[in-house]
Amino acid sequence: MQTAVTILIDGLTYASWLFIVALGLTLVFGVLKILNIAHGSFYALGAYAAASFVGWAAALKWAPAFSIVAMMLAAVVVAVVVAPLTERALLRFFYGRDEVLLVLVTYALFLIMEDVTKLVWGANPYYVSEPYALFGNVSFGRQTWVGYDFALVALAVVIGVAVWWVLNRTRVGKVTLAVIHSAEVASSMGVDVSKVYMGAFSVGIFLAALGGAFTAPMISVQPGVSVGVIIVSFAVVIIGGLGSIQGAAIGALIVGLARSFAVHVAPVAELFSIYVVMAVVLMFRPEGLFQRTQARRI
């Protein structure tokens, strides 16, 4: 019983972190049809920005609880400043081109951003572990978890519901869905597609940066943090179906639970577990769990 609960909790906390990042990735693909290799770099940027913002908050003698606000602000700044700049100054010139070309462009962006973050923040690590202690600890049997991990689960739920609600219950969301289905038709109906692209890209980057910002207290922020997250995020969106929000949620849950089960039961298969799940899903649902099969346009 204890082991089952532990697997469930560990799987859930890992999945929530993964969901926040993967949701941004799948949203950008859904709207802009860009497989954003640089998504991990925005995640890293969020982590670095959070380190700086939390440091400034401490210097201004803000109460420790406000470090959460500082982390949110860091993600907002990345989304408001860096994302539109990237989309307007770079990506829009490649819309309509082969998807492979966009993969190469975002890969180049990933390499550039790696060095830019190093130029700005240097190679030394940043520690912002104070927010990690804000929510105390939760004990169950032999286990003790940090309350912050459960706060991340709550944050993931709030974000998932908010994105779903905006997309399905608001005018902006319906316009975005129209662009997802067909940018051409939406444009002919008077939708400013480029604005939708910029908005969706910024939201996607906000989610990446938010994931990075809320991970910063658990790690030392340093060069290379962008790499690991992007690979496993791709596994999540491929399992769930590229562009599907429900898919990202279910994909993150599957990956989180599979990994947790493997670590507790057969640690040697930890890495393998994620990709075996992905392979099995792709065998039966090549488009992913929540991607509708699309008719080929002639």
């Binding site: 909790i9 190679a123 572990s129 790690i219 060069p223």
Partner: protein, 436 residues
């Protein structure tokens, strides 16, 4: 007038010819010894290993060229030749490293390459250098397999391999009477982590015959998130928890495990953790037993050479040197002595790759961390002393200090030249000498 002019021109020509002859006969101040230095300048290993090591190299190359290093390293440059370093990023995987290594030899025309932190990279580049018959000095990577499974003429490693780290850890536990009836492990899933856990397990079998291994976690390199692994380690708590995690992975593990109380439930032992102490500060729990893969940093021995090196590095970078720059400096000191030895045997001329290799084979020299002896791998693999200590945060100094330091002579924790590490440990460390 005309006569005097032509006599002057003749004298000038003679002087030029003499200079040319001198240059041809021995190293001149203008001649350079070009060394390619490969380490992580980006990616996950840059902060803890690559950049501190390269910083150490830069400080030392500068000191060499000024002739500012203490004797016997006080000859300017390498035997009068200016030392020129070309820095290359190790990030990008083993295949890329093989190509970069070939570029260094073929395009940059380097006289030697010093490099490689990653065990996988070392395993890949060593055969490539050997095939090209070019001098390669591995300065950091830990896997024992390089010289135990392979035989090389042109490849050397000037730091001890990982067997020493884990044998010393277990010997420390034994010397300090640490209870170890059960032990858990968490190591990265690649050559370094796999080799480390094997060496630790075999050493435990010999020195703690009744100890039972429990959890054997193998997260991938760069995982960053260890919540699930920490739960697994806490679910079946053991007397001792061993790890060879390093860099950002180690920092993340400590930051995530400490608030959950793992360090209170088990005696954590890290085989290569000194480099995270300056950064983590008070976030590193007290009482953790750790090694530095040598007698480095806070565990380095007192000597004039170490004092000079400590001051050089600390003044240049505002932080004390940890294991990576120490290993870089011991590599460059050895290379300098080998180059000067080879030059002396070569009429003062720059040595070839063959001559350099012959000069470094079986060489011994003093480093800030103690004496380095190329005693294993047919004179190609170094042994050195090491030390293990226990963490304590010193609030007055605002830094982590190490208490209960125990020093282990090289012959106590390294296998003899005639045995492979695995066989030596499994045979119960035959021939081990001077153990405390």
């Amino acid at each position: 007038m005309t006569k005097r002019t032509s006599a002057g021109a003749a004298a000038q020509r003679s002087a030029l010819a003499l200079a040319a002859l001198l240059a041809a006969g021995g190293a001149s101040a203008q001649e350079t010894f070009k060394v390619g230095i490969v380490s992580f300048l980006s990616g996950q290993a840059a902060e803890s290993f690559g950049i501190p090591a390269v910083n150490g190299a830069k400080a030392l190359v500068d000191a060499f060229n000024k002739g500012a290093a203490p004797a016997p390293y006080n000859k300017a440059g390498f035997g009068g030749m200016k030392l020129e370093a070309v820095y290359v990023d190790e990030n990008g995987g083993a295949t890329k490293q093989v190509q970069e290594l070939k570029n260094l030899y073929d395009r940059e025309k380097v006289d030697a390459v010093v490099g490689y932190v990653g065990s996988g990279d070392c395993l890949a580049v060593a055969p490539a250098a050997e095939e090209m018959k070019k001098f390669l000095l591995l300065y950091d990577c830990g896997t024992p397999r390089i010289f135990e499974d392979g035989k090389y003429e042109y490849v050397f490693r000037t730091a001890a391999h990982a067997t020493m780290d884990n044998v010393a850890l277990v010997r420390y536990l034994k010397a300090k009477n640490v209870k170890a009836e059960t032990f858990n492990m968490i190591n990265q899933d690649y050559a370094w982590g796999q080799d480390s856990k094997k060496d630790f397990t075999w050493s435990m079998e010999k020195l703690y015959p009744g100890a039972k291994p429990g959890e054997d976690q193998l997260p991938k390199f760069g995982a960053g998130q260890y919540g699930t692994e920490i739960s697994a380690l806490m679910a079946k708590p053991a007397d001792v928890t061993h790890s060879s995690l390093w860099g950002g992975d180690l920092q993340a593990f400590v930051l995530q495990a400490a608030p959950r109380g793992l360090f209170q439930r088990t005696q954590v032992v890290f085989s290569a953790a000194d480099h995270v102490l300056p950064g983590l500060g008070e976030k590193m729990p007290n009482g953790v037993i750790l090694g530095a893969r040598g007698a480095y940093g806070l565990m380095s021995p007192k000597s004039a050479l170490n004092d000079w090196w400590w001051d050089l590095y600390s003044k240049a970078y505002g932080v004390y040197p940890v294991q990576a720059p120490y290993r870089m400096v011991q590599a460059l000191l050895g290379l300098k002595l080998a180059a000067e030895k080879a030059m002396a045997a070569n009429g003062g001329k720059k040595p070839t790759h063959e001559q350099l290799a012959a000069a470094l084979k079986d060489l011994e020299w003093e480093s800030p961390a103690g004496r380095i002896r190329m005693a294993l791998g047919n004179g190609h693999q170094a042994v050195q002393d090491t030390a293990i200590g226990r963490t304590r945060y010193d609030a007055a100094k605002k830094m982590v200090v190490l208490d209960d330091i125990v020093r282990f002579p090289a012959d106590c924790v390294n296998p003899p030249p005639t045995m492979k590490s695995e066989d030596w440990i499994k045979a119960g460390f035959p021939g081990a000498k001077g153990c405390p």
